[in-house]
């Protein structure tokens, strides 16, 4: 079959995958309307959303390519030489590109692997070879625009700022290697996810914990991108600092990707400042990485092609020893279910794991402080609780995964609110424990963290209860599908704002009070009172929620039916 025809078919498959990735957000939920117009709008949304995501990613790459070269290479500070600036710029661009492509890949490749659409092509009169090739082309279409933009924009920016054609060509080589590494890593992570996490058998608490730990492999790159996009300037400076000793004391860094390409580009652009051995190491390492990339490309191609013939999901089958179950109370049942779902879903796991991970990373900034006092503690608590208030919408969206079934279960609004608020609060408490542990490790005082962090649990609980209350009020009837909760930004923001007010008011009040009152005991008292007040108000509101309480007539009817043996006692 001709390449153009295969490309066209791959386009149809890609559209279906894009649709499924959006449609899955509504799966289990109820579509607002079953009319054809609505579905057509959903299909159009899916296509435009995936295109928009690719365009945004490409724009960020272009902006980043020019910004990083402009801010360091062009604007000579006199502190770092031009050659070292180039090393830093090229290295940090490659590292960030790798992260961005992996994260983008993880999001869409999940749908690509989970979709059976490639396997369904086997039923059509197409050769196996063509189906394999369509898989590969379809995979390429997920990344096409960002890959193309990256390999054009940065070399172009490099040429503009340095005027070196040879340097630009080295950069092209580095970007090619980076892109291949990103595709291979994405594929490997997707395979890992399906074999060790999604398809993992067993239901013990230990296995759930183990899956959560394995999920870190999936989650850390996502957090990496968050760090990279937020602190790219600091990272660039850090990379610069790494490059400096290499020229004088150590050759090791020259052999490490992505520095080898940074050094090679610098070497051919600014032909001074590097000895012969450094030049050889940088060039040899770059060639080795290129060879590795070719191998990785072959492996990726082979793996992607295999989806067309055997599918991606391989489920495990363990020997079942018994069929005993351990029912618990409703609250514990919901929390346990949420944890189990999260342990098999990267997006949900990331929400639960990232707060603790982020706290650990940020806590090490305490190492530069003489002591961890009032200001540092409250700053950290604000960061931690900002993440905590994002949790309720995500936790409620788990209910949407099978709402078409789960809504038939006898579940009360209050139970659901308390379960979600408890889990969100526990996530905050775990972050607090991590913060205490890191602070103790750094041998700093934990007094403020224990005092304010402990009291702040009340505010976090109150905030998550208020958000849960709003979510239940808004979506109890229409269902908690992700598509319903996150579709309208205004709705989502309206849920977060009250939560933010509840959680930040005591903190901001304490900070303001501390400016005018020197007595920190008084500030602590105010903080505790405000937090307690928030908690009492939130608990009162949840207690007042309308629960379709049974009236006297209904209670009598049910009692009579039970006496007649017509109703069971549950």
């Amino acid at each position: 079959m001709r390449l153009s025809e295969l490309w066209r078919i791959a386009g149809v498959v890609y559209k279906e995958i894009a649709f499924q990735s959006i449609f899955s957000l509504r799966s289990g939920g109820l579509l607002p309307s079953k009319t054809g117009t609505d579905i057509r709008r959903l299909v159009r949304n899916a296509q435009s959303n995936t295109l928009l995501s690719k365009i945004l990613m490409s724009l960020f790459i272009v902006m980043f390519a020019f910004m990083i070269l402009f801010s360091t290479t062009y604007r000579e500070t006199g502190v770092i030489s031009l050659s070292l600036s180039i090393v830093g710029d090229v290295s940090v661009f490659l590292a960030i590109l790798l992260f961005l492509l992996i994260v983008m890949g993880l999001q869409v490749t999940t749908s690509f692997f989970a979709s059976d659409v490639i396997v369904s092509l086997n039923a059509l009169p197409l050769a196996s070879k063509d189906i394999s090739f369509i898989s590969l082309l379809c995979f390429a279409r997920i990344f096409d625009l960002p890959l193309l933009v990256a390999i054009i924009s940065f070399p172009l920016a490099y040429l503009l700022f340095t005027g070196s054609v040879a340097g630009s060509l080295v950069v092209v080589l580095g970007i090619f290697v980076t892109e291949v590494f990103a595709l291979a890593l994405t594929t490997a992570l997707a395979k890992f996810f399906y074999s060790r996490i999604a398809g993992a058998t067993g239901g013990s608490a230990w296995k759930t914990l183990l899956r959560m730990a394995l999920m870190l492999v999936w989650v850390i790159p996502i957090f990496g991108v968050y760090i990279v996009t937020s602190f790219w300037m600091e990272i660039a400076n850090f990379f610069m600092s790494l490059t400096q000793p290499a020229l004088s004391t150590s050759y090791a860094i020259l052999a490490v990707y992505p520095f080898s390409y940074g050094y090679l580009a610098s070497q051919v652009t600014v032909t001074e400042g590097m000895d012969f051995v450094s030049q050889v190491i940088a060039a040899a390492s770059s060639i080795c990485y290129f060879a590795l990339a070719i191998g990785a490309l072959t492996w990726t191609g082979k793996t992607i092609r295999s989806i067309g013939s055997v599918g991606a999901i391989s489920s495990g089958r363990s020997v079942v020893k018994d069929t005993e179950i351990s029912p618990q109370g409703r609250l514990a049942g919901i929390i346990r279910k949420d944890l189990r779902v999260a342990s098999r879903s990267p997006s949900y796991a990331s929400f639960l794991l990232l707060p603790a991970f982020q706290t650990a990373v940020l806590a090490f900034s305490f190492s530069t402080f003489r002591n961890v006092g009032f200001g540092e503690t409250l700053g950290m608590l604000m960061g931690m609780s900002a993440i905590a208030i994002l949790l309720p919408p995500m936790l409620f969206s788990i209910e949407g995964l099978s709402s078409a079934y789960a809504r038939s279960l006898p579940l009360t609004k209050k139970t659901l609110i308390l379960a979600k608020a408890t889990l969100a609060t526990v996530t905050y408490v775990i972050s607090l424990i991590v913060l205490v542990a890191c602070t103790l490790y750094l041998q700093k005082s934990i007094f403020f963290i224990l005092a304010y962090g402990g009291i702040h649990i009340l505010s976090v609980t109150a905030a998550t209860m208020v958000e849960s209350l709003l979510l239940v009020t808004m979506f109890w009837k229409s269902g908690f599908a992700i598509g319903n909760i996150y579709t309208r930004l205004t709705t989502y923001v309206l849920i977060l704002i009250p939560g933010a007010i509840v959680v930040f008011a005591p903190v901001l009040g304490a900070i303001l009070l501390a400016i005018f009152v020197s007595d920190l005991d008084f500030v602590l008292l105010w903080f505790a009172t405000a937090a307690l007040l928030m908690f009492i108000v939130a608990a009162f509101l949840v207690g007042k929620i309308e629960e379709n309480k049974l009236d006297r007539r209904t209670i009598t009817t049910i009692r009579n039916l039970k006496n007649q043996g017509l109703l069971n006692s549950n």
């Binding site: 799966s27 079953k34 351990s326 189990r340």
Partner: protein, 294 residues
């Protein structure tokens, strides 16, 4: 009353172990409920209207299901069967009308849902969980105690041969096995009302037979079953009464005999009656002839 005259008995030629399990299950429960039940309205639907935007899926639909009945909801695709069932189990909000379960209005969500076991048409369970984890969740929500749940579960899992798949994520199960998980979840709390939306789709012959026996038994012990199916033979054999829905309205209701009398020209089978009352009979011969000519 078709089935009350000729109730289904476990007369199958399954493997002896399966028959024994099933018979033990039925006998034990039969002994425990070996009393004459009072016939009364289990589910009462009045003037139900369900709409999706401007599209009316269910149009002022009314019917009643009594204890001891297996009520079959029949209708062509898109007739409104599943929408009606989703309202009964609290998954869908009606635009208007009333539904009561043992005289309890549907608004009393928890009380009503506690008495219903539901098998949805599209088995959208929590795919990330294994059957064990899923059933633990539903049992927790239904507040089943450990011993009671495990005693019932062991028998159901063995009867439906789900043991080898008990720790496999639901996402990786076949459609039939997913259906079995949903059926077990619906039966585990021994609800007085079973609402089954196309429950036989995807089931193997053995499991299908077991489910049919369980449905018949549910009615005999004084429970009620609302059963939606496309398979006319199943409805004919299993259902005490049948309601035929077309374009969101009940167009025929009664026992199969009553429906035959209602539609004089129907030759006898429920399929003929069904095609007649849903006005789908016209043109079938021409369509078949046209296809054959091609």
């Amino acid at each position: 009353m078709l089935l009350q005259k000729k109730p289904l008995q476990p007369r199958t030629r399954f493997g002896s172990s399966t028959t024994n399990i099933l018979q033990r299950m039925l006998r034990k429960t039969e002994n425990s409920v070996g009393r004459v039940f009072v016939e009364r309205a289990a589910v009462c639907v009045k003037d139900l209207v369900v709409s999706y935007g401007s599209f009316i899926a269910v149009d002022h639909l009314s019917f009643e299901v009594k204890t001891g009945e297996v009520y079959g909801l029949l209708g062509p695709n898109g007739a409104g069967k599943s929408s009606t069932i989703k309202v009964l189990v609290g998954v869908l909000e009606p635009r208007s009308g009333s539904v009561t379960v043992f005289d309890t209005p549907l608004a009393e969500e928890v009380a009503v849902k506690s008495q219903i076991g539901y098998v949805p048409e599209e088995v959208a369970l929590l795919d990330a969980l294994t059957p064990r984890e899923f059933l633990e969740f539903t049992s927790s929500i239904r507040r089943l105690d450990r011993d009671t749940a495990n005693s019932r579960l062991g028998k159901l899992v063995a009867a439906f041969e789900l043991t080898p798949h008990f720790d496999t994520p639901i996402a990786a199960l076949s459609m039939g096995n997913k259906q079995k998980v949903a059926i077990i979840a619906a039966l585990l709390h021994e609800p007085p009302i079973l609402v089954l939306d196309e429950p036989l789709i995807g089931l193997d012959a053995r499991s299908s037979r077991i489910l049919k026996e369980l449905v018949a038994y549910q009615a005999r012990k004084g429970g009620a079953v609302i059963f939606s199916t496309h398979i006319m033979e199943v409805a004919e054999k299993l259902c005490t009464r049948v309601g035929i829905i077309n374009k969101g309205r009940i167009v025929g209701e009664g026992t199969v005999d009553e429906l035959r009398r209602l539609v004089r020209k129907a030759e006898g089978s429920l399929e003929d009656v069904f095609l007649k009352v849903t006005e789908q009979e016209a043109g079938i011969d021409e369509v078949i002839k046209g296809l054959a000519e091609e």
